[in-house]
């Protein structure tokens, strides 16, 4: 079973510690998304998994075998790069077939695999084109095709969508999700975009400063973030963090309230606030307001009539409050 295990993997570049004893367990067939801000070590982790970078310490297992000392090609992985990394002097067909030629497959089998991948990714009409004659989305699909033809146990994606424009990003995201359903292979996907993580992942691994902060399904992370970092990173707009009396009253150092759990009080209410900006998204309205002590974001329905400068009273849903202690860790309900 080609699951992936990392055990206490550490890595430093000179004096800079990039990974601090990271342990992970990714099941066979799982779609795991590693998410975190830039510089958190997520790309390095992926490169160590691929064998492009050596770990300073710790074990890497793929399919139950220790692969620390194996070359990338011997690990049965395929990687899709953020920059696509297509061979510029080869056409789409050759880009996909190039690696296979060195794996001892006969020409007929190579043909078959490339054709199958091209059909899956709608690249059939583009096989003779060079990368420079392709659009961004087509290049990305070629890069994915190059990974598919290897029929790897594990797919590694390094921010594959960040060079695409917004509309194409959504399309390609759906294609990758469909691909995972079709191929049923283990996929590990690195991104800094929490929306990609939420939409694609069976399981999200949140990383920060070289450590794994929390792992879990998207909704687990959304509903029960283990600490302030995860709480702030997962969910858009960001969770509101409030200290002071309101938190003290709840027995916490800081409380976190999701924007959808804030509302305008019909009467009474918790905080006096002034609206400073309103964003109408059609289905939602984001209202940015300031109280005496903090800035709050509220999610309202589409018919919100609030406008900048309005004085309002805000209240929050007591049942949906996240509580955090002085160390930033979650206090269980």
């Amino acid at each position: 079973m080609p699951g992936v295990r990392l055990h206490n993997v550490s890595k430093s570049f000179g004096a800079e510690v990039v990974l601090k004893a990271v342990s992970l367990d990714i099941a066979d067939g799982e779609f795991a998304v590693i998410v975190g801000p830039s510089g958190c070590g997520k790309s390095t982790l992926l490169r160590i998994l691929a064998g492009l970078e050596a770990a300073d310490a710790g074990d890497i297992e793929i399919g139950g075998h220790r692969v620390n000392d194996l070359a990338p090609a011997a690990r049965h992985i395929a990687m899709v790069f953020q920059s696509y990394a297509l061979y510029p002097h080869m056409n789409v067909y050759k880009n996909m077939a190039f690696g296979l030629k060195f794996s001892g497959l006969d020409a007929a089998e190579i043909d078959l695999r490339v054709d199958r991948a091209a059909r899956m990714l709608q690249l059939e009409d583009l096989l003779m084109r060079k990368p420079r004659e392709l659009s961004g989305g087509q290049r990305q699909r070629t890069a994915i095709g190059r990974a598919i033809v290897r029929e790897p146990d594990v797919f590694l994606f390094d921010e594959p969508l960040s060079n695409l424009d917004a509309a194409l990003r959504v399309n390609t995201r759906l294609e990758i999700a469909r691909l995972h359903d079709t191929l049923a292979a283990t996929m590990i996907y690195v991104t800094h975009d929490q929306i990609e993580a939420m939409t694609l992942a069976d399981r999200i691994i949140v990383m920060n400063e070289g450590r794994v902060e929390q792992t879990g399904t998207p909704l687990e992370l959304y509903r029960a973030p283990q600490n302030l970092f995860v709480a702030g990173f997962i969910g858009a707009p960001k969770m509101n963090f409030i200290g002071g009396d309101a938190a003290g009253g709840a027995g916490a150092e800081t409380i976190g309230i999701r924007p959808e759990h804030l509302s305008v009080a019909p009467k009474g209410g918790d905080w006096n606030a002034t609206v400073i900006a309103v964003e109408h998204l059609g289905s939602d309205t984001y209202v940015y307001a300031e109280t005496e002590t903090s800035a709050l974001t509220m999610r309202n329905g589409p018919e919100s009539t609030l406008k900048s400068g309005d004085k309002i009273m805000l209240e929050y849903d007591r049942a949906a409050v996240h509580r955090f202690d002085a160390g930033g860790q979650r206090i269980p309900r």
Partner: protein, 275 residues
């Protein structure tokens, strides 16, 4: 205040430079087609009906072993070119891609090689060639020219190879492509323009060199074209028709090679690789 150069000013400077550089060559070619008297009476004139003469060419082709010199020059230049390009590209790949002990030192040795003229070592080189019994062979010239050309070639190619995106090599490694195949199937095709540039840089001084053929291989059978021309230049009498005609002929192959290589100097070869 920032200086602004108008296109006219820029073109004036460039055209002036081009004219200065091309004038001697134009003079050689023009005078090669003139009679001896016409060369001396009016060296700046173009060949006219009165002054036109092919005597120089006839003499060069009839009297001397011109074809032999030609083939010698061509052999030395092409073999050197092949060796330099292969070794320099491989060395540049190693220096830019792999971290190994002594990398900086080796890089420095090559950098010093660019700065120190190889002619300073002529005496030792001659002694070495005598000891190896390589005097009056084309091999001697090829060896010296290869050594002479490698440093600059490596320097230029290292810069180019370093510009190839890291992801491209990593992608190939993930694809199971061996390092030697990465070099020949990915790196070399991508630095083709750089290789062509280096080839031109390397080829011209070798073709034009008089020093080492004169010292290492002055024998009848191994004379290169620059050396062969010298037989028409005497202490008292110089056969200018023959000299100019042979120089004109000598320009042709190098010009052909240049045109061939400059077609490789296409830009944007890596377009579409990344992003």
């Amino acid at each position: 205040m920032r200086l602004k150069f108008t296109p006219i000013a820029i073109h004036t400077v460039l055209l002036t430079y081009t004219a200065i550089a091309l004038l001697p060559i134009a003079l050689i070619i023009a005078n090669a087609f003139k009679s001896r008297r016409a060369i001396f009476t009016d060296p700046l004139a173009l060949p006219g009906p009165d002054s036109f003469s092919l005597r120089g060419f006839a003499k060069v082709l009839a009297v001397s072993d011109f074809e032999l010199y030609f083939i010698n020059s061509l052999t030395v230049t092409l073999v050197t070119l092949a060796l330099v390009l292969l070794f320099a590209a491989m060395a540049a790949w190693a220096l830019s891609e792999y971290a190994f002990r002594g990398r900086l030192f080796i890089g420095l040795v090559f950098a010093v090689g660019i700065m120190v003229p190889i002619r300073l070592g002529t005496v030792s080189i001659l002694e070495l060639m005598v000891a190896l019994d390589l005097t009056n062979t084309l091999t001697a010239l090829i060896l010296v020219y290869t050594a002479q050309s490698l440093p600059l070639a490596i320097f230029i190619l290292t810069e180019f190879i370093a510009q190839i995106p890291k992801d491209l090599k990593d992608a190939a490694r993930c694809d199971g492509v061996s390092e030697i195949h990465i070099f020949f199937a990915i790196i070399v095709p991508l630095i083709r323009p750089a290789i062509a540039t280096v080839a031109i840089f390397v080829m011209v001084p070798i073709w034009n060199d008089l020093w080492f053929p004169l010292i290492l291989s002055p024998g009848e059978d191994t004379q290169t074209i620059t050396l062969g021309v010298q037989q028409f230049i005497g202490q008292y009498v110089t056969d200018w028709n023959a000299v100019l005609a042979s120089l004109t002929l000598a320009i042709l192959p190098i010009l052909a090679l240049y045109l061939l290589l400059s077609r490789q100097l296409v830009r944007g070869l890596t377009a579409g690789a990344v992003k």
